[in-house]
Amino acid sequence: MAKKALFVKAKELKTDVAVIKDLEVSIGRIFDETWTEPVGPTPFPSITDLREWDFKLLQRYKPMYMPFCDLCCLCTFGKCDLTKDKRGACGLNMAGQQSRIVLIACCIGAATHLGHARHMVDHLIEKFGRRYPLDVGGVNVQLEAPITRLVCGVRPRTLGDLEDVVDYLEDQVTHLLSATHTGQEGSNLDFESKVFHAGMVDHVALEVADIAQIAAYNFPKADPEAPLVELGYGTIETHKPVIMVVGHNVISSVGIIDYLKENDLYADVEVTGLCCTAHDTTRYSSRAKIVGPISWQLRFIRSGIPDVIVLDEQCIRADTLVEAQKIKAPVIVTSDKNCQGLQNRTKDPADEIVADLVNGKVPGVLILDSEKAGEVASRTALEIAPKRKKFKVIPTVKEIIEAAKKCKLCNDCIRACPEGLLIPEAMREAAAGNLQLLVDLYETCIGCARCESACPNDFPIHSFIVAAAEKILKGEKFKIQAGRGAIQDVEIRNVGSPIVLGEIPGVVAFVGCANYPHGGIEVAEMCKEFADRRFIVVLSGCSAMSAAMYKDEEGKTLYEKYPGDFDAGGIVNVGSCVANAHIAGAAIKIANIFAKRNLRANYEEIADYIHNRVGAVGVAWGAMSQKAAAIAAGCWRLGIPVIVGPHGSKYRRMLLGRKDHEEDWYVYDARTGDRVYVGPVPEHLFYTAETKEEAMVIIAKLCMRANDTSKGRAIKLTHYIDLHKRLYGTMPDDIHLFVRTVTDIPITMKDEILDILKKKGWKEGRIPDPTLLPRLIRKMKE
């Protein structure tokens, strides 16, 4: 891979034999073709290059729209009512509009990761130079950027190589977004194909951002034994000045840690964070601490513990400045994407900025220079901490009871609450002096504070909950394994055999935000269930944090109990949101490392491979953001099913297979060219589950793939049936669709299932070498 251009200019060169004046040498593009892998059919694919593949998937998994809003209000023709097959003034129908909104959401998500990647690459190049090598795992990771290789057909070796990739991605997002303009795309299926493209672009952006930071900041490099780090409110040493970082882009936090280290102050200051920035600070320094996921933002600020709040980008509460002012903590914003109306002080001397913040002259500043931000944050924290004395806005028990007595029980809070929590009941009990119901709300509250906005009395209801549960909050002391980054090539090879032989029934990735229907404990419980069943469990982002926040009877978290290897029964934290790239990357690596399929610009074939063979399932239990939508879309194009929690239905459409439509479930047998019925595997591509129990059954089911060996299918069926029996109390009614030959039947259930098959009129099928692509049908060589 190479840089865009080379330009050399010499004013005058004089040697014994030559005099050269005003010499200019320029080279348009340098192509390093020392990579011998042949280029596949779709290098740097345009927005239509993979359309046929998308349509194949969309044929099987037809979009089912669930309008979150019946109107379109995007242009001044509108509002247009699109119900009952009506079309809007521009001619677009409901399906078109819903898919268009999905595309807009995915473009926002992709643009966000991409903006992050661009910032990261530019910043690191400035600091470390274009030629800085991309080492993401030493000798154990030869395949440094599987997604980039697959999509773009290039092999990035240095930071500079990533620039071409980012250029391409930016170009794609522009085209995709332009398709959503009024009077552009009209077909919902074409919108959906573009959604998939946005998702694919998003995955490349994730990979670029994460491999750049892993290499340059020396994060754990594909390390299954990445250090255990501290997580939880209770781990923060509150007697020290505390810097709270929030967001996703670790550059400014690195500035802080570097400043503290260089000035020998790191032992005197706590650096702690929320959301993915926190993940990445612990990848940078195992001394940094994580408070918790996004939902802990308000409660941590109101606790008064942070002395300085440093914001970068993404998933940051828009009212952080307002909340920070309540506890007299200055705010430093560091991202051009999130300036919060604050004055740009980037060029001012640090002394002046620190003085203004410490004296309360300004509530916050914008500093677009990570080193300066690091210095200002550190010095401000040290100077302001003795003055602030951890000023907090958490009410006392007495105050809560007094307020509760005034509560009119109007139920506006419960209507405002996304989780429908029973706040009025808790208030009624509190009025009587019993705070237990408020305490109980703590576990399920997602910390959005919509109840407070709704309350006619302006009660700080979220603070009531947090105050009531103070003991729980202070007891939050956990260990999480720092994000390990990529999966080693050799780990992929190790699991290849047990996956082929079916001893590992699947790979389940718990990713995404913290909008959990019944609290984070459900993520932890699901992880445990599947790790105990010898699946490979992978986590990232807020889910990885939530999974750490529960201990077993011995006081151990999942990360202390289970190994961090990408192997059966492992619980693997890859890292922040951008580290999600390594999860998709692992699926891609299986195709390349284990089966030797060419990756380079060979998207369709690899997606076909993964879809038919790699039993991977993504679960975004608390999916909230547009970024989560884009990440899911990237999985869809690879044919990997994604399950979301009940809030996920608000993404407006699902991609559901129809197991009753036999014709949807045929593949080609690549060995013979025959069309073979393989059953509904995987049954859905995007599915919303209403309960944890439903999610667990569907996870087990969606791990089945067309190429499962009999042993593998038997084991997968065992888990599906066992979970179904345990959680629903019945045998599944569709077992006959998943048994191809008698040897597929789990050996301990043979009699029972043979009975069922008989009743269903089951006929023996066969196990093909499955593909959806006729061009992959192999011919006998003579």
Binding site: A18, V139, N140, I747
Partner: protein
């Protein structure tokens, strides 16, 4: 209707990973506290076995004190038209798998080393007799290995009886091993093929012979024989050897034919015992790679567990990548650890006399099978980290390959070709004088649309 009607606990694959700690256990059977314990399967005549009979000799589970540890022998006698002595080992290993399916019963290890624990919960549910365990085993054996027509199982806990039978069992294991290790490819009619990995590597076919284990190290010739019998349409199948084309290389017409068919013509010839020419292909799950090191004209070996780079600077992952995916690549060869113990191991290439480097951990595992005269001449990561160091080591230790070093092969350095695809050279002033020349360039602009850097194929 459930298969396990009347069994007081659940039976299922999901209990396989269950671990039972001491504080949860009701009774321990065998294990480190007992000197004598065993499990043994014997093939018997149809008239010697009373089908589904279960016998307990000595105290049953309900008769022992909670928390105690007792000796145990599990003796399984099977009969059937297709049951043969060669399959005893394969059948025996299923005891481990089947016992673990039982909720609350843990089975570790095999043969004379078995270690079982039953937890309190399952005991309380009513699993208080070997009869239940026997019934589960009987049911699973007959359902999974339908060639077993009759089966009777005896559980022995009486210490004297266990001891007596234990001694007999030890001599049977020994005889069985000796027979298996001594068994030659030439002595059997059929080999076994395995295409389990084809779901991931579509052109790979494993050929399993008495002297060549499957690459993954998990299927012996005996396992293959049993699997092929149980599921004749399954991924493990018999290969008629056909005509022996070359005994040294291990080429058989039957093998060639089957491999050609099963790989759809991608592979037409296989030489079983060499890393060159038409080597056996590699799937993706081989345990180790033998890789040729041209500088010393020998093979290095690296296994999957070795985390560092090998002596030629490449890690396992890169070397594995060179051979995986069902291809025949000269000098790169996916193998199992067990194959290293075979007398036919790379015999065409010189066998152990050609092995120059391997990780110490693997060397330790197969040490007893490396000829005495060469074992200390094979370097490990502790002896040599580079090819130069290796060359010195081999010379110092007079490794047999040194004899071959009449001419040290020279490695061709890759050349870089810089092709200017399109260039424009607008020169406003050019003066080139030949012979004692002087070049004057003014306002020189050289522009290349593209610069393509290519690597030339390394010359051998």
């Amino acid at each position: 209707m459930s298969m396990f009607e009347g069994i007081p606990v659940e039976v299922g694959v999901i209990y396989e990973g269950e671990r039972i700690r001491r504080k949860d256990m009701y009774v321990e059977l065998g294990g480190p506290e007992q000197e004598t314990k065993f499990e043994l399967v014997r093939a018997k005549g149809l008239d010697e076995v009373e089908d589904e009979k279960i016998t307990v000799i000595g105290p049953d589970i309900k008769d022992v004190k909670e928390g105690s540890s007792i000796p145990l022998g599990i003796y399984v006698e099977v009969a059937g038209k297709d049951v043969e002595e060669e399959l005893e080992g394969v059948i025996e290993r299923r005891i481990h798998e089947y016992c673990n399916f039982i909720e609350g019963l843990m089975h570790l290890n095999q043969r004379y080393d078995i270690w079982l624990r039953l937890n309190k919960k399952s005991f309380q549910k009513g699993l208080n007799s070997f009869n239940y365990i026997g019934k589960v085993l009987t049911k699973l054996y007959k359902s999974e290995l339908p060639f077993i027509e009759k089966i009777q199982i005896t559980f022995i806990t009486d210490p004297d009886k266990v001891r007596g039978m234990w001694k007999e069992a030890l001599s049977i294991y020994e005889a069985r091993d000796a027979k298996a290790r001594g068994m030659k490819d030439e002595e059997v009619d059929a080999f076994y093929g395995c295409t389990l990995c084809q779901s991931f590597a579509p052109t790979h076919v494993c050929v399993i012979t008495p002297q060549r284990y499957s690459n993954c190290g998990s299927i012996s010739w005996f396992d293959g024989r049993a699997s092929a019998r149980v599921d004749p349409k399954g991924p493990v199948f018999a290969i008629e050897k056909g005509e022996m084309i070359d005994t040294e290389k291990g080429e058989y017409s039957g093998v060639n034919e089957v491999v050609k068919k099963k790989s759809l013509g991608a592979v037409n010839r296989v030489w079983l015992y060499t890393g060159f020419g038409y080597p056996h292909t590699s799937c993706g799950c081989f345990e180790a790679v033998a890789f040729y090191i041209p500088e010393v004209d020998g093979f290095g070996i690296v296994d999957r567990g070795f985390k560092d780079v090998t002596v030629n600077g490449l890690p396992f992952s890169t070397l594995a990548d060179s051979t995986a995916g069902g291809r025949q690549i000269d000098g790169f060869h996916g193998i199992s650890v067990e194959y290293m113990r075979s007398p036919k191991f790379l015999q065409v290439d010189g066998g152990w006399n050609r092995i120059v480097w391997m990780p110490s951990s693997v060397k330790e595992r197969v040490k007893d099978f490396i000829p005495k005269e060469v074992v200390d001449k094979i370097a490990t990561e502790n002896d040599s980290k580079t090819v130069d160091e290796l060359r010195a080591f081999l010379k110092d230790h007079e490794h047999p390959v040194v004899q071959q070093w009449k001419e040290v092969p020279v490695e061709a350095a890759p050349e870089v070709e810089e092709a200017l695809a399109a260039s424009t050279i607008p020169l406003s002033t050019t003066a080139i004088a030949a012979g004692g020349f002087k070049i004057i360039l003014k306002n020189a602009k050289i522009h290349a649309e593209k610069l393509i850097i290519k690597r030339e194929k390394a010359k051998r």
